[in-house]
Amino acid sequence: MSVLSREKAASGAEAAPRAGLSEGKKQERRLGWLLCAPAAFVMVAVTAYPILYSIWLSLQRYDLKFPENREFIGLANYVTVLSNDYWWTAFGVTMLITVISVSVELVLGMGLALIMHRTIIGRGLVRTSALIPYGIVTVVAAFSWRYAWTPGTGYLANLFSPEGAPLTERASALAIIIFAEIWKTTPFMALLLMAGLALVPDDLLKAASMDGASWWQRFTKVMLPVMKPAILVALLFRTLDAFRIFDNIYVLSAGANETSSVSMIAYNNLMKGLNLGIGSTMSVLIFLTVAIIAFIFVKLFGTAAPGSSDDEGRR
């Protein structure tokens, strides 16, 4: 939101460049607030209310199976959840999926981005076909993977494990979930990275090759540093996204054999168990984790990204 309002204020400044000093500044600020008021209002309506409401629910004992027991119990739900192995297993699974899938996606996405960036012939075709997985609805794609890994009828199951049922074993099920996740979102990563690649001026790469840099040195010493802000944004988006993984697990293993993510168990408690107190507590914890991840990334931007420091302010 702060970024948003700053941008709006800046555009307001452009609209009234000849305004006087103090009176003009005030007016400018008022215009800025007015301009972002509609967006702020919508944000409050659709996000602030549900968040505050779920925080409120998380502080109560509230099970729809026993509605008469509803009671304000403070942080007791948090104690319950955080001292529960079930939660921590799901948390570990989610972290594992997040770290592995995002790192593999980064490498593959970078490769794909380079290919899309460098392709001269059939550029449109290459870019379109690379984006197909991202265009398919996740649930549909997840079902096709599930059928492919179903013993007896699935071609992948027959090919790789004619004996067992891979989706019913923890390790192989997790591997398949991660694989489906990577297959699906690598194009998104590639798209974000390609935007970053476009930031690297051709002259810079030419200069590096004149300076004696090999292909790999040009990539690591020139391209990556220049692309760093774009890479960080891509990583942030994907990490937040991956941490909330739900649909792939829901379809592929339904969380069986300890393959549940935190989103899955929150769903199970809220929707299946009808335990609004515990479910909301888990939702709030997920929200906090996501906020912490975002905070770490944004802190990283603040210290390392050019553009945000006064490093490149004069550009």
């Binding site: 002259d203 030419k206 004069r314």
Partner: protein, 401 residues
């Protein structure tokens, strides 16, 4: 330190267009050579081929006698300065300059020494720890030069290195580049579209147009003896005046009057294929206020009277503009020039620009009697643009089609 030889070097793109046609050029060791021409003339492509950033379609490129057509840029041991400077934004000034040395795996102490030396020469010592984003345009330009000179390469290639600077800084940097080149005595190929830069910097200037070399020579030769209309119009500021002319009996009929044919002109026109329709070219400084001409000079020239349009006093001399009635000189070369200049840099063709002494008393709107030096006029064939007054004995460089 090395000489660079281009032997029938051609650049053809896959779509069939030819950017550079069989260029022959020998650049001597330590020479400062300028490739100049309007945009699209192939000068940057030629430079990129020397650098190795573009493949050579045919012909041979030799650096220090060695064929380098198939060598990667990094193996050619040449440094390049880009118009955009191409500084690495994530590295400090010092790191930028050290980058090529680090890649060459030089020992740290030696790198530090060389960078410090280059920084001293370019007066960058106090900026070594800064990032390029915190430097001014001129400082960035110097860092780019520094990154080139630390390596002591065989040759420097410069692609319009001063174009992004403002006018005043450009003039200062021009002097600095020139001094640096003399000091290092390293072969330098410099690309520019600015004829002033070309004239002031180079030992020799190569004028290019449409992928062909028009003329190669030292700046004075190009100025005094342009081989064709294009070179004549491109070199010099303000540019040469062009007037249509017809050869009659023993005079040259021009909108300024009938010019008597002296021996030099008569000789030029005696060739069997000399056309009857010509274009006369004369530079602004070859006019003078008739009142200031001494008697013995007067006979060498031609005098005419015309109302003055405008007088611009520069202090050292006066630019006096006249309007010439009648037809304009027409030629493909001239159209090219006008197109390149966007019509703005060249005087409209019915204008005659003269440069008279500061003592001249001519005034706006009053008739002036003006003398022009017939020894200095050039006659061009409007068909092919060739300068037919060029002395055969003169070495004015090659002129391919």
């Amino acid at each position: 330190m090395a000489d660079i030889v281009l032997d029938k070097v051609t650049k053809k793109y896959p779509d069939g267009t030819t950017a550079v046609h069989e260029i022959d050029l020998e650049i001597a060791d330590g020479e400062f050579i300028i490739l100049v021409g309007p945009s699209g003339c192939g000068k940057s492509t030629t430079l990129n081929m020397i650098a190795g950033l573009e493949d050579i379609s045919s012909g041979e490129l030799r650096i220090a006698g060695e064929r380098v057509n198939d060598k990667a840029p990094k193996d050619r041991d040449i440094a390049m300065v880009f118009q955009s400077y191409a500084l690495y934004p994530n590295m400090t000034v010092g790191e930028n300059m050290a980058f090529p040395l680090k890649l060459a795996k030089l020992p740290k102490a030696e790198i530090d020494k060389k960078v410090a030396e280059a920084a001293r020469v370019l007066e960058l010592t106090e900026y070594l720890g800064r990032k390029p984003a915190n430097l001014s345009g001129g400082q960035r330009q110097r860092v780019a030069m520094g990154r080139a000179i630390v390596r002591s390469p065989k040759a420097f290639l410069m692609d319009e290195p001063l174009s992004n600077l403002d006018a005043k800084l450009r003039v200062q940097m021009r002097t600095q580049v020139s001094r640096l080149q003399k000091q290092l005595n390293t072969t330098t190929v410099y690309v520019t579209h600015d004829q002033t830069e070309a004239m002031t910097l180079g030992d020799r200037v190569v004028v290019m147009r449409g992928g062909y070399i028009q003329q190669v020579g030292d700046p004075q030769t190009l100025y005094d003896n342009p081989v064709n209309l294009f070179v004549a119009g491109f070199i010099g500021s303000p540019s040469m005046n062009f007037l249509p002319a017809t050869v009659e009996e023993s005079v040259l009929r021009t909108p300024l009057g009938d010019l008597p044919l002296n021996d030099r002109l008569r000789r030029s026109l005696s060739g069997a294929d000399a056309p009857r329709q010509l274009i006369v070219g004369i530079r602004p400084e070859h006019f003078e206020d008739a009142a200031l001409i001494e008697e013995h000079q007067r006979a060498k020239g031609f005098e005419f009277t015309m109302p003055v349009d405008l007088v611009e006093s520069m202090g050292s001399d006066k630019y006096v503009y006249f309007t010439v009635e009648g037809e304009r000189a027409v030629s493909a070369d001239l159209e090219d020039l006008t197109a390149d200049a966007g019509g703005a840099d060249l005087p409209p063709q019915d204008n005659l620009v003269t440069r008279l002494s500061a003592e001249s008393r001519v005034r706006d709107g009053v008739d002036a009697r003006v003398w022009m030096n017939l020894d200095k006029i050039h006659l061009f064939d409007p068909g092919n643009g060739h300068n037919i007054t060029l002395n055969e004995g003169q070495d004015a460089g090659v002129a391919t089609p």
